[in-house]
């Protein structure tokens, strides 16, 4: 009996954790996307219209975008939410580099519309996706 309960609990955990790690994405609203092979996997970034300016990064096993290994939706810089803590955030460019995604971004602050732009990066490992890190003058809490 305990064995069955354990199996059921395990199954439920798998179902819920899978749901939590792969939220539905409305791919039809794709606005910007790119793919490149990195460290034996395929890494894709995708941005959707109406989702501005979150960046979803995914790692797949195969080049045809099957076998999702890892996925991360990035909507903040440090503790600062794109939606709530900035007036406007713009991603100018995204490029693949060795072990990372390199981005040019612009941030407009809520107060006075202070504009700050700079280079940012998202570290990519074999099965890990880092946070957004930027070289800006706002302060260390952003990095």
């Amino acid at each position: 009996m305990q064995g069955i309960a354990a199996v059921l609990a395990g199954l439920m955990l798998m179902v819920f954790s899978a749901g939590a790690s792969t939220p539905p994405i409305d791919y039809e609203k794709v606005h910007m996307a790119g793919v490149q092979g990195m460290m034996g996997h395929w890494v894709r970034y995708i941005m959707l219209s109406g989702d501005s300016p979150c960046i979803t990064v995914q790692i797949f096993k195969s080049a045809n975008m099957e076998g999702l290994v890892r996925q991360k939706k990035i909507c903040s810089l440090g503790k600062m939410s794109f939606h709530d803590d900035f007036a406007f955030v713009d991603v100018r460019t995204i490029e693949f580099e060795q072990g990372q995604l390199s981005l040019e971004m612009v941030f407009f602050g809520l107060r006075g519309g202070a504009r700050e732009e700079g280079k940012c990066s998202i570290a990519i490992g074999t099965s890990s996706i880092g946070d957004l890190e930027c070289s800006l003058e706002y302060g260390s809490e952003y990095h």
Binding site: Y27, K29, M32, S49, S52, M65, D90, T93
Partner: protein, 146 residues
């Protein structure tokens, strides 16, 4: 990633324009003949060209390049869609082992595409610079330099 032409235009503008144009279900019957599995998108970008928001989409396991245009300021008005599946008389799915859209760049009146053609039979692979004319009411064919 955003185009040279409109690099300085805030992306928010396009997001609003494009978001207003969604969903894309208002496409023509022709579009239904070419079902697109957007979850397999490998390349995409959008820019304002000739007073239209123009998007290209490249899909894994799909030999065609899809180019779509949307009216500016007219929510939900999907305008044009074209599936580029051939060049001249040669079909991507029949006459080539692989057609790879390597780079795509929007310009004022066209979409430039660097394409690698790998022949299905004997022959060398070739990289060609190609172009698709973009006008307010039309999306041209793929035309490549020799």
């Amino acid at each position: 990633m955003f185009t040279r032409v409109w690099k300085r235009v805030p992306l928010t503008t396009l997001w609003l324009v494009f978001y207003a144009a969604s969903p894309l279900s208002g496409s023509t019957a022709k579009a239904s003949e070419h079902r697109i599995d957007y979850s397999k998108v490998t390349k995409a970008d959008i820019a304002i060209v000739q007073e239209r928001a123009v998007r290209y989409v490249v899909i894994a396991d799909n030999p065609c390049l899809t180019v779509q245009s949307f009216r500016l300021g007219h929510p939900a008005e999907y305008h044009r869609e074209k599936f580029i599946c051939s060049v001249g008389g040669a079909r991507f799915d029949r006459d080539f082992a692989l057609v790879d859209f390597k780079t795509l760049d929007f310009h004022d009146d066209r979409l430039d595409v660097e394409v690698e053609f790998i022949p299905s039979r004997r022959g060398r692979k070739a990289v060609r610079w190609c172009s698709i004319a973009l006008q307010p009411d039309s999306i041209g064919d793929l035309v490549c330099n020799r």
